[in-house]
Symmetry: C2
Subunit: 209 residues, 2 copies
DNA sequence: GTCTATAGGCGGATAGAC
DNA sequence: GTCTATCCGCCTATAGAC
């Protein structure tokens, strides 16, 4: 049994998905036409519909693939054996690095998912909630153990994920900052923002990706 | 000389602008048709063009109005006589409260400005840079005076503004949090994230709006 | 699996009457 | 300042040949 997906040559469906993610991030979902996508891929507009039943389904697929890939990685960190401070730092670093490394896909997830039709949206909302609750639980544990200051964990989760998500809009690959540098700095600022005592030790458990 | 703009009854141009801001935030610039806007205002599509020459000009006007209103308020705080920590806290609180209170307009500024045509974009980029540099300068002063930890002020500005901007996407007016509460909490988290020693004193200079 | 051709509607914008 | 009528191009999506 050969696993085509994880292998070398990308199939047409995957090339379409990649180009779509890039265009959706650059021009927005509603600013990208199927014609423009077809041109980018190098096939005709009609051929797209052989691989995906609709533009909506294509967006949904991009988002789904992203969630399915990143969620387990964050879950593993969140459920590991470190102090909450270290787990939060590692999870946020991973989240931020992925947001830069796979920015086309992640941008579709965080910026363009609002254009999902009601059917797709329902599924998406649930999975996104589960993903963010991974972070919130770590924050709650950190508060309970006295690693972080007493505070509302919902607002804290909003603040920290909002901060890290912003790299998608603000990061420029030509810029002066390396992805790892940004991710580490953001995670530092984040855990310090919750009132963590020893940011240094938290950073020690950094992910290298 | 009567100032029409600041008075009671909004003219048609202003009603169009308000409706447009609401729709652009909800459905996105490219997801909002001139027909939908006309219906929301209660006039015909053609009548819109008597007040604004194009959809682009309408978006540009919304963004311009927002910048012109908020920038002086932040500038006054940034150039006031408080320690950097207090100035940053007050400025971020104002920024966040405004992002909630005038979310339709601010969302057009922060989320939809990317759809501006090159002509309008150039002007916008400059003014946005000036606005954000107000925050960056306060952060730099805070670092120089030892109020904040030694760090890259550009990344810090990205992180903090990204965090506060996220309320636009994440805040739900039906939610459990009051605007002031969110703004104060975010500002607390932000200045703490830079390593400010006394967040309490910073919060003392809170804005009430 | 890709193509040509086309359906059928909606997009932004304009002309010109009142 | 608002209307009706209209231009024309582009939109998503489908039919059906190869």
């Amino acid at each position: 049994m050969i696993n085509r997906e994880s292998a070398q040559e990308p199939g047409t469906a995957e090339r379409i998905r990649d180009s779509a993610a890039t265009l959706f991030r650059q021009k927005g979902f509603n600013g990208t036409s199927m014609q423009a996508l077809a041109t980018a891929v190098g096939i005709t507009k009609s051929s797209l519909y052989h691989h995906y039943p609709s533009k909506q389904a294509l967006l949904a697929e991009i988002i789904e693939v992203t969630m399915s890939r990143v969620t387990p990685l964050v879950r593993e960190i969140a459920q590991s054996d470190l102090p909450a401070t270290g787990r939060l730092h590692r999870a946020l670093t991973l989240h931020t690095v992925e947001s830069i490394r796979e920015r086309d896909y992640v941008a579709c997830f965080s910026e363009e998912s609002r254009y999902l039709s009601p059917t797709f949206m329902e599924t998406h909302r649930k999975k996104k909630g589960e993903y963010e609750s991974l972070f919130q639980k770590v924050i709650e544990e950190g508060i309970d153990r006295g690693e972080f200051l007493e505070q509302d964990s919902g607002l804290a989760t909003m603040a920290l994920l909002g901060m890290c998500d912003s790299v998608i809009r603000r990061y420029r690959p030509t810029g002066e900052y390396a992805p790892d540098e940004i991710a580490a700095t953001f995670a530092d600022t984040a855990v310090r923002g919750l009132g963590a005592r020893d940011t240094e030790r938290a950073a020690a458990g950094e992910v290298t990706r």
